[in-house]
């Protein structure tokens, strides 16, 4: 679970003002009818990249034991994506959406849903979640800029179903 914590402000002498201690959890509560989905991919010996190049892989959707490229009718809600490198090099991760598989093949991105950077590890926290739209293609862009051949672990967390109330 990933929790973002803010420092409690101290004013004068006395009790700390805990009303200012705000926590934002990126892992949603699981409700009845929801499933948790987990993607884990280990890439080995990928050729070196230079900024701003990145590798792109489609997020596959598991429907009735088969994988498909486009989002199914039952919505997936992505809420956390991370990339972890084997060394302390700059790592980038990004989630993008294409309107269709044809758009993916021609490279026409409909929207960027978030990008995160970090040294050794990049974590993209989608606090409100991103609900997959039926028929769209989602892909993850990932990169490590050590200038050398690299390994990378990419993980993606999602919920399935019950996202109708998301704004």
């Amino acid at each position: 679970m990933s929790v973002q914590t803010f420092d409690v402000a101290v004013k004068g002498v006395g009790w700390k003002d805990y009303s200012q201690d705000v926590q934002v959890a990126t892992e949603p509560f699981i409700r009845a009818g929801q499933l948790r989905a987990f993607y884990s991919t280990r890439y080995s010996n990928l050729a070196a990249l230079t900024w701003p190049d990145a590798y792109e892989a489609i997020v596959a959707f598991l429907v009735d034991t088969t994988l498909q490229n486009t989002a199914p009718l039952r919505p997936y809600l992505f809420y956390l994506i991370s990339a972890v490198a084997d060394r302390n090099a700059l790592v980038a991760i990004s989630l993008v959406r294409y309107n269709s598989y044809a758009d993916y093949l021609s490279g026409v991105i409909a929207e960027y849903l978030g990008t995160a950077y970090g040294y050794g590890k990049a974590v993209l926290e989608l606090v409100k979640g991103v609900a997959a739209q039926h028929g769209s293609v989602y892909s993850v862009l990932f990169a490590e800029y050590s200038g050398d051949v690299f390994n990378l672990n990419v993980t993606l967390h999602a919920l399935i179903g019950g996202v109708e109330e998301i704004e």
Binding site: A37, L62, G107
Partner: protein, 36 residues
């Protein structure tokens, strides 16, 4: 953006009780959006 190439990976997708392992994946090169 480059053509897709198939690379060896160690991958797993799990949805509830269903689980699928995969050993190859198609990836391609493209540029990150700059300034974000």
């Amino acid at each position: 953006m480059s053509e897709e190439t198939e690379v060896k990976v160690k991958g797993r997708i799990s949805v509830g009780k269903e689980q699928v392992n995969f050993e190859t994946q198609k990836i391609r090169k493209r540029k990150l959006r700059e300034g974000k």
